[in-house]
């Protein structure tokens, strides 16, 4: 036993990248592990995963997510360029607003999921997964070269000047409003928008978004100020540091995908239950890689071979790779891609893919965990309601 399964490994760091908060994590009891080539805190010594999960849903947790890729897209043709890579309608996005989207490949599969923010009339601010950073940049730069060679005015730059921290939970807004000296309690700062703020004199670019299902913020802060900002936040009794382990149980309860597990290059946005990320205009115009395949899966006569679903599972938790069975004949009709016991619901939740036809909410299925067949039922996600601030 004690074989870790999730892809975290405690290695004596050989050539791992460190964020600007590395020493700060260690000082605060962070248990450092390797993740996507970075040394990151999986949890902190004073707080177990369950307690940290509960804290995030009731108070506010501070996460270092500086390992994620932040890029800046500029130039007259930046919107045209990004629309040639993702499924969003970026043209229609209001200044200051953000949207979740996906980079697609020529087969219609998902290269990565990403949040795109229209930062100003002249630039886009884009955040994507740490585990896909190398792949994303290679893909973007290759397509960028093609565009530039045709005379387009566009450039994509990695933001290597800023760290990224996330403050998530119902008390996050009180803390940020206080640090910002905002007399209106940030009532006008809605979910999926971003703005420049000064937090006790520290200039940041802050988005009201996150990946936990809670209200909260992701804060892009200059490297030199990341520790100071974190310390200012942690001075508040409602804030505690949280590591990567609890991010997984939080996003799973919120029904949010983890790239590399619930999404990968073989999954189209439609199969991944992300059809909503495809802008209306994009559904008629296309223009993103794999659009023919993807658009053939939408509308009348569409053929969608498999679908991402949520499950409640009885018995032992069903985790990645567990087979999903048709109770009628015991045949395998899909597999689980993520799962865990839900601390909030006190039942097992899971995400997976099943053959088309078995995906409707309420469908009774089975899973086979360590050889034992257990009952499961298709459930709408999110499992735990989102608490996003919509004004």
């Amino acid at each position: 036993m004690l074989a870790t399964r999730r892809g975290f490994s405690t290695t004596t760091a050989a050539k791992l990248s460190k964020t600007s908060l590395y020493d700060f994590h260690v000082k605060n009891g962070g248990k450092m592990v390797e993740f996507a080539g970075w040394s990151m805190p999986v949890q902190y010594s004073d707080l177990g995963v369950l307690a940290s999960h509960e804290w995030t849903r009731k108070k506010a947790s501070l996460f270092d997510v500086s390992h994620m890729l932040q890029t800046s897209w500029v130039g007259k043709d930046r919107i045209k360029f990004i629309e040639s890579l993702i499924v969003a309608d970026v043209e229609a996005l209001p200044v200051g607003s953000s949207t979740l989207s996906v980079f697609t490949n020529d087969a219609g599969g998902i290269i990565d999921d990403t949040v795109v923010n229209k930062r100003s009339e002249s630039s886009l601010y884009v955040v994507s997964n740490a585990g896909c950073a190398e792949k994303d940049l290679k893909h973007i730069r290759s397509r960028l070269a093609d565009f530039q060679n045709k005379g387009a005015d566009v450039d994509v730059k990695v933001i290597d000047t800023h760290s990224l921290v996330a403050l998530q939970g119902p008390k996050a807004v009180n803390i940020i409003a206080d640090l910002a000296g905002a007399t209106n309690g940030l009532k006008d700062f809605k979910f999926m928008t971003a703005r420049e703020l000064s937090l006790k004199g520290i200039p940041v670019y802050i988005s009201r978004c996150g990946y936990t299902g809670e209200d909260g913020f992701e804060i892009s802060v200059p490297h030199a100020e990341a520790v100071k900002l974190s310390e200012l936040i942690l001075e508040r009794e409602d804030a505690k540091l949280a590591g990567l382990a609890v991010r997984d149980s939080l996003r799973l309860e919120a029904g949010l995908c983890l790239y590399g597990h619930d999404l990968d290059e073989t999954v189209t946005p439609v199969e991944g239950a992300l059809t909503w990320t495809i802008g209306q205009r994009r559904r008629t115009e296309g223009g993103f890689p794999g659009s023919a395949k993807i658009l053939s899966q939408i509308g009348k006569g569409a053929v969608v071979p498999r679908r991402r679903i949520g499950l409640f599972v009885e018995g032992a938790p069903a985790r990645e790779h567990v087979e999903i069975l048709n109770p009628a004949d015991g045949k395998v009709i899909g597999n689980v891609t993520s799962g865990c016991p839900s601390p909030v619901l006190k039942k097992n939740v899971a995400m997976g893919y099943v053959a088309n036809g078995f995906h409707k909410a309420g469908t009774e299925l089975q899973v086979r965990v360590r050889g034992k067949v257990q009952k499961a039922v298709v459930t709408k996600m999110p499992f735990v309601e989102h608490a996003y601030y919509r004004g």
């Binding site: 004690l2 177990g48 995963v49 369950l50 938790p317 360590r370």
Partner: protein, 113 residues
């Protein structure tokens, strides 16, 4: 979770095939390299996982117990102990037949939070 912390380490009672571990009148506790322990007394062995192992697992939320009557060979996968993040397989430290399980562990520990 102190209830679980105290009792988790005692998972099953096995009647071993070979009681090489027992001396007359003594219960001898032996450990495997994988953090299982077994203590044999009068031909009946009690086994569980070490305190080090249960601490390393963190918050345990689910334990799969073997069925009474089931016969295992040494190193068979006999149980699993789960935290929120991961499941850890537990292997039989000796061969034998399960004669009792610690039923206090049978219900999902999440209910006790």
């Amino acid at each position: 979770m102190s209830f679980a912390a105290r009792t988790i380490s005692r998972l099953s009672v096995i009647r071993p095939r070979f009681s090489t571990l027992s001396l007359r009148g003594y219960a001898t506790k032996r450990f495997t390299k994988d953090h299982e322990w077994v203590s044999v007394s009068d031909g009946v062995g009690t086994f569980g996982i070490s305190d080090y192992a249960q601490k390393a697992l963190g918050d345990v939320v689910f334990i799969e117990l073997p069925e009474v009557g089931k016969v295992f060979a040494k190193k068979d996968n006999i149980s699993a102990v789960e935290s929120v993040k991961a499941a850890s397989d537990i292997y039989a430290p000796v061969s034998g037949e399960v004669v009792a399980v610690n039923s206090a562990l049978a219900t999902s520990l999440l209910d006790q939070l």
